[in-house]
Symmetry: C2
C-alpha cells in the first residue's frame, strides 16, 4: 500500500515548506520538494493543498481510566484531590477498556498518534486490567505505552510528616510487584504491534528504593521506558527533604534510575541542580500545564529546562486533573504560560518549538525516537493531516500560529499510525465512536451539585502545608 | 411570542437546580420549579432534559477588527506587538463589518450574548467605521457595546522614557476627539436595539488628562460605559510612576474617571491600594487571561481583587493577542490560572464563581446589570442553552465543571438575545455563516514563515525594559 501526499505544508528544520511525502507500508518512504515525486496508478493520492502535515504528537503522560472522573473532582491540591480520585476510581474491567478507547480517540482527534498511559490497575486484577487496556488501544490502532502504576508504600507516605497519619493498608511488596511487572512485560510488550510496556513506579513518594531500583533493572533488561511522577507539588519537594535530605532527583540519580529511557512527569519543583542532573542523564521531563494549574501545583521551570538542554515533552495528564484530553490545548498553554517567568521575549517558546517538543521530544520521552515523532524517510508513518480550510484556521495567516495559539476544532482530517489510516475525513475508522459515546452517556454520575469531599487527611494537610511555615522554591 | 423551557438545569444562587423558564417578548417572564408552569398551545415548548441554561456571557473586552490578524503576530510583549498590529491593521470598511460579524459569531458559539468592542476606528473615517461595526452587530443580532479607541498622545508616549523616541505624527486633539465622540453617541447609541456606545480612551499611557476627564463628562451626560486599558504591562506601571509620581489608578480616581460605569481592561500591575480604590469606586476589572499570557504581561491579582470586593469579569481581548475568541477558554484559564498565586485551595475560584463573573459580573462591567447577565424575571432574555449530551460533556459528572474545566466544543445549542432566537441547533440563524468563512478564507495572509518584525522602537524597549534595572511589583 502506497500513499502519496502531494504538495503539503510541513515543518522542516523549524520552517514551513511544501513537500511531497510518499508512504510505503508502515513507513515514510520519501520526503521531496513539492510536485517532484511521480504519481503511480496504484497509489492513493492525497492533494495537500490547504493542508498541514505534522508527525503525530505524543501524549507523554496520562491515566486513561480517569476518563470516568472527568469533571468530577472538586478544586483541591494533588494530595487531597488524590483521596477523591481513589474513592471514585472505576472498578470494572470494561471501564478500563472504554477508558483506553476514549483516551485514544481524544488523542487522535487532537493531533496525537501515541499515548503514554501511566495506568491505574485494579488491585488483584492487574493482568486483566492491562489486557483490557491493550485491547482498547489495539481496537483503535493508536501506538501506546502502558506503564502500570505500582507502589509499595502506603497512601500516608505521600504526605510530609505522613508518619503522623494512620498508615492504612500496606500495598504489595516490591518483590511481588516486580514479579508481576515481569509477567506483564512477557505477556503484553509487543512492539511489532505498536503496544509497549513501560515500568511506572508511581513516584519516590510512594515507592521504596528497592522498588525504584528494581524497576530500573527491568527497564535495562527489556529496554523499556521508565516513567514516574517527580516533584509535582510543594508537598513532594518537602517530603524529599524529609526522606532523603537531598533532592529527589539526586536520589533517583544515585539509584541509577535516570537514563535516556527515563521520563519524569511534572517536575514543577525541580531546581537548577536537578535540571542539570536530568539533562546530563538524557532524561525527559513531561510537562502537563493544564493539570499543573488545575491542581495548583505551580509553574514548572520549562524555559530553564530547555536552556539547559533538558528534553521537554507534553502530556495531558488524566481527565480527573485535566477535564479535557486535548493535546493542542496543552501545547497552547505550554507555549504561552511560561512568559510570566521571563520578561525577555527572546526566551519565549514559539509554536515551532513547542510542536517540536510535542513530536520529536515526545517520542524521545517514550523511548521511541528512532521510530516516531519525525517526518523523515525510514520513520514510522505516524502522521496527522490538518485541514487549513476549517473556520478555526481562518483567516489564512500563519498556520502554525493558528494551530498552536488559536483554538482549532475539528481540524484533524486524516491520521496514520504505522501507515494505517486510523482517522479519515475527521472520523475514526477503526471503532464505532457512537458506541463509545453511548457507553459514556450511560454513566450515572454526580449530575448535580458537587460538594468538596472532606477527607480525614485534610486537617493534617492544612496544618503542614497551609498553616505551617512558608517555604520558597 | 412565548417560549417555555421545561425542566432545565440552571445555576440559581450558586447551586444547580432544575427549573421551568418562560420567555415572553424580549424578557424572562417567570422562573419556577421544574414542571410547575402550565403549557399553552401558542408557546414554543423546549424540552430542557439533558440541557443547561445560563445567562449569556459578556465578552468584556475585545477589538473586533483584529479578527484579520488572528495567528499573524509573532511572540512579543505588548509594546512591540502593538507596532506589528498597527502595521497590519485592516483599512477597508468592509473588513470592519466582517470583523464585527466574526466576533459576534465566535461570542455566541462560546456562550456569549454581549460583547464590548473596544474598537479600532479608521482615522478620518471614524463615523463610517462605527457604522460598519453597528451594521455587523445588528446583522447578527448580538448585544454590543462599541467604545471607539481614542487617544491624543503619540505612539512613543506609551513607552517608559518615550521622550527619547521620535514622537511621530500627532493624533487629533482632545477637543476634536470629544466632539467626534459626541457625534458618534448621537448617531449610534441605540439601547432599544441592543447597540450601545461606550467612551473608550485607549489608556492613560496614550491619553491626556483633558481627554480622560472629557470622556468622563460624556459618560456622565449620556450614562455611558467608560472603558479603558489599565496597567496591562510592567512598562505601563513604570510609565505611570514617570508621568504622575502616583499610581495610574489613583490618578484616574483623582480625575473622577472611576465610577460604577467604569470598566478597566487587564489591571495586571495593580497593587493593593489600587484594588481598594477600584473596589470602592464600584468599577469593574476585565480579566483577559489568554491575552495576558500570550503577551507575557503577567498574572493579574484576580483572587485579591475578589477578596477586596472588586467586580471582575472576563474578556477575550482581540484576536491578535488571543488567537481564539472563545469565552469558555478564557473562563477556564481564568478559573485555574490563579491557583499558582495562592496555595490555599479555599481561596481558589470555582466554576460556579467564574460563571457568575462571566455573566452578572460581565453585565455590570458594561453598565447593563439591570438588563442582562442574570436569569430572573424582568431581565432581558439573553440566554444560552447547552447540550449536555454532546461527547465533550460526557461522562455525566458535574455539568458546570465539564463546561468550565473541560474543553466543550459545539455544545451551544440555542442562544436568545433580547428574546430573539439567534442560534438554534448550534447554527447562527441570522446571517450566512458560510459567507463569513468564504470572506475570511479569501484573505491573502502570510501563509508561510513568520519572521519577528523588528521595529525601530525595539532597541529602546530592550534598553529600558529588559536590560535596565529590575523592578518588582
Amino acid at each position: 500500500m502506497q500513499t502519496l501526499i502531494q504538495s503539503v505544508l510541513t515543518l522542516q528544520n523549524g520552517t514551513l515548506e511544501a513537500v511531497d511525502v510518499l508512504l510505503m507500508g508502515d513507513r515514510i518512504h520519501t520526503v521531496a520538494p513539492a510536485h517532484t515525486l511521480p504519481v503511480a496508478a496504484h497509489q492513493r493520492l492525497i492533494d495537500g493543498s490547504d493542508r498541514l502535515l505534522l508527525p503525530g504528537f505524543v501524549n507523554g503522560h496520562t491515566h486513561s481510566s480517569q476518563v470516568w472522573q472527568r469533571g468530577l473532582i472538586p478544586q483541591l491540591p494533588l494530595e487531597l484531590w488524590l483521596a477523591n480520585v481513589f474513592e471514585s476510581t472505576p472498578r470494572q474491567l470494561e471501564q478500563f477498556y472504554w477508558g483506553a478507547v476514549s483516551t485514544a480517540v481524544d488523542t487522535l482527534l487532537s493531533g496525537g498518534t501515541c499515548v503514554m498511559d501511566h495506568a491505574y490497575v485494579i488491585p488483584g486484577q492487574e493482568m486483566e486490567t492491562v489486557e483490557a487496556l491493550v485491547r482498547g488501544y489495539k481496537a483503535v490502532g493508536i501506538r501506546a505505552v502502558i506503564a502500570p502504576l505500582i507502589q509499595d508504600l502506603p497512601f500516608a507516605s505521600g504526605f510530609p510528616q505522613g508518619c503522623l497519619l494512620p498508615q492504612g493498608a500496606s500495598p504489595r511488596s516490591a518483590v511481588a510487584l516486580l514479579g508481576m511487572m515481569a509477567d506483564i512485560v512477557t505477556t503484553f510488550h509487543d512492539p511489532a504491534n505498536g503496544i509497549y510496556i513501560g515500568v511506572g513506579p508511581t513516584g519516590f513518594h510512594r515507592c521504596s528504593d528497592q522498588l525504584l531500583a528494581g524497576c530500573q533493572e527491568l527497564s535495562d533488561r527489556h529496554h523499556l521506558c521508565y516513567h514516574t511522577h517527580l516533584l509535582e507539588t510543594r508537598a513532594q519537594h518537602r517530603l524529599a527533604q524529609e526522606s532523603y535530605g537531598i533532592s529527589a532527583v539526586q536520589h533517583l540519580h544515585n539509584l541509577g534510575c535516570l537514563t535516556p529511557r527515563t521520563s519524569v512527569a511534572h517536575g514543577v519543583w525541580i531546581d537548577e541542580g536537578d535540571i542539570q542532573i536530568l539533562a546530563e542523564a538524557g532524561a525527559t521531563l513531561v510537562h502537563n500545564p493544564v493539570s499543573n494549574l488545575r491542581l495548583g501545583s505551580g509553574l514548572a521551570p520549562i524555559l530553564r529546562c530547555r536552556q539547559r538542554g533538558l528534553n521537554v515533552s507534553f502530556g495531558c495528564d488524566g481527565a480527573a486533573s485535566n477535564d479535557a484530553q486535548n493535546l493542542l490545548e496543552a501545547i497552547k498553554l505550554g507555549t504561552i504560560l511560561h512568559r510570566v517567568a521571563d520578561d525577555d521575549y527572546d526566551h519565549w517558546l514559539t509554536p515551532e518549538q513547542t510542536l517540536q517538543m510535542a513530536t520529536a521530544g515526545g517520542a524521545r520521552g517514550v523511548n521511541l525516537a528512532d521510530r516516531t515523532g519525525t517526518l523523515a524517510p525510514g520513520m514510522a508513518a505516524d502522521l496527522v493531516l490538518y485541514n487549513l480550510n476549517h473556520p478555526s484556521m481562518l483567516p489564512r495567516n500563519h498556520p502554525l500560529q493558528l494551530l498552536v495559539l488559536g483554538r482549532p476544532t475539528d481540524v484533524v482530517e486524516t491520521v496514520w499510525v504505522n501507515g494505517k489510516t486510523i482517522v479519515d475525513q475527521g472520523q475514526v475508522q477503526t471503532i464505532d465512536v457512537n458506541a463509545l459515546h453511548h457507553i459514556l452517556a450511560r454513566s450515572v454520575g454526580a449530575q448535580g451539585n458537587q460538594q468538596t469531599q472532606h477527607h480525614p487527611v485534610e486537617p493534617h494537610y492544612r496544618q503542614v502545608m497551609i498553616h505551617g511555615p512558608g517555604e520558597g522554591r
